[in-house]
């Protein structure tokens, strides 16, 4: 399948190297020009740098790290704020990319989060899921605002058993040309772990 990604400029952000590497490889194989950044706090600056280097950014992909066995009941206020700061930083990175995307009529925002946002697993990343749920809400608000400019926002839901290469393939599909009508959706890669129907 031709994903129509030749020369698309993509910034990938997330603290876990296997996520970024697998995503960058999959998108590079499709002809994208990719740059990666580990710290969400540097993601907006990386978007701006990519705009300077390549003249544009077509997609921003963020990977929330997966941290199993993080029950919210045992969290501290500091844990909650530290995790929520990702939402703020990711919003800044998306916002750095969106005006240019809107001008060109093409853009993709993709978020990779824990499947615990849909159904809590046995070793749930509950604290991470709070940020994940916030980002799903942001996707819905974003598409209400910018889908008309050819920009989409979608999420990949994964768990500890999801292979990075398979996550990367799903990310590449969501970034692709033929995925343009998918708006605010979630795609679960969980080997049927989740028992919920919707």
């Amino acid at each position: 399948m031709d994903l129509g990604l030749q020369d698309r400029v993509v910034v990938l952000a997330g603290p876990d190297a296997p996520d970024r590497t697998a995503g960058a490889e999959a998108l590079s194989a499709e002809g994208c020009r990719v740059s990666t950044v580990a710290d969400f706090g540097d993601a907006a600056a990386e978007v701006q740098r990519a705009v300077r280097d390549h003249g544009r950014v077509d997609a921003v992909v963020v990977y929330l790290p997966l941290r199993p066995d993080q029950p919210a009941v045992a969290a501290t206020i500091e844990d909650l704020y530290a995790t929520w700061s990702w939402v703020e930083q990711i919003a800044a990175a998306f916002r750095a990319a969106v005006p240019g995307m809107a001008e060109r009529g093409w853009g993709r925002l993709v978020t990779v989060i824990t499947g615990d946002v849909k159904a809590l697993g046995e070793h749930a990343d509950e604290v991470g899921a709070l940020a994940g749920l916030g980002l799903l809400g942001m996707h819905k608000a974003a598409v209400a605002d910018v889908a008309r400019f050819g920009i989409s926002a979608n999420a990949v839901l994964r768990d500890a058993a999801s292979a990075p290469a398979e996550v990367a393939a799903t990310v590449a599909f969501l970034v692709s040309e033929p995925a343009g009508y998918l708006q605010g959706v979630t795609m679960s890669l969980d080997g049927a772990r989740s028992p919920v129907m919707f």
Partner: protein
């Protein structure tokens, strides 16, 4: 129906106005002792006086910023001192500011492309940290009693973000609060504590009236037209009353509702369309 709430001790944040006040009144009517918490002392006292006139000796007030963990612990201490261990905690804190003359300073309404990213943190503090802090402060008493009811007054946008309103802040934070409550429900169920979330629709409160006035200005329409167009979008063809929120809240904190936990339930006249 006897709900088994006589003598239970309830904290209701945002208890001086609207939905919080209606819930406090409904719980007092069932014989519960209620502690109203809110930032401003004067409206608190007014609400308490009204409840006390109907149900003497069952109401206490605690002026507190419910986003401040220490202040929330103090509200629990006030409740303990006056009435005993807390069994019911209702979190009802408002998010972004619509009318700053009534609600104080803070981020206002906005969309994905207009809101400042830093405003997500403020909304998180208002909506999620306040809910977490009250649950956290109250659950020690509940665990000791092996009985507890934690309830959040959330919003329908937790499940279905609104497209036509500049609501990005609640659109982002409300789903996280609904998720938090689902998580707490699972962790606290073995202690006999339920944790549920109401999804508020178009309810006739002072805050919603401010919101319609604000929208009318934004859209350059008469307020009545804004209200009419919103009512037309409600399958029940009418707005809800705070007392209708309070009725479900009262049932969910009752003895009978002990097996209902981790739920987000809309009170919205049928607006919510998800299955």
């Amino acid at each position: 129906m006897k709900l088994g709430l006589e003598g239970r001790v309830a904290i209701i944040s945002g208890g001086s106005r609207g939905i919080g006040r209606a819930i406090a009144t409904a719980l007092a009517a069932e014989g519960a002792n209620v502690v109203l918490a809110a930032r401003q002392q004067r409206p608190l006292e007014d609400a308490a006086a009204e409840i006390d006139a109907q149900y003497p000796g069952q109401v206490e007030t605690a002026s507190a910023d419910m986003c401040d963990v220490d202040a929330v612990r103090n509200v629990v201490a006030v409740a303990n001192k006056r009435f005993g261990p807390v069994g019911i905690a209702v979190s009802n804190v408002i998010g972004h500011v619509i009318d700053s003359s009534k609600e104080g300073e803070g981020p206002g309404a906005g969309t994905f492309t207009t809101i400042r990213p830093v405003d997500y943190r403020d909304e998180f503090t208002r909506l999620l940290v306040s809910a977490w802090a009250l649950a956290d402060a109250a659950r020690t008493d509940m665990r000791q009693q092996r009985w507890g009811r934690i309830l959040n007054i959330g919003s329908g946008v937790a499940r279905e973000p609104t497209k036509d309103l500049p609501h990005v802040l609640p659109n982002v934070v409300r789903p996280a609060v609904a998720g938090l409550y689902r998580m707490l429900a699972r962790s606290l169920a073995p202690d006999g504590i339920t944790v549920n979330n109401l999804l508020t629709g178009a309810i006739l409160t002072e805050r919603n009236r401010s919101y319609w006035e604000w929208l009318a200005q934004e859209r350059r329409q008469p307020v009545e037209e804004v209200r009419r167009s919103m009512t037309d979008g409600i399958p029940a063809r009418r707005m809800g009353e705070p007392e209708e929120m309070a009725a479900l809240a009262t049932f969910l904190v009752s003895e009978q509702a002990g097996h209902i936990t981790g739920q987000s339930i809309p009170v919205d006249g049928g607006i919510n369309r998800h299955l």
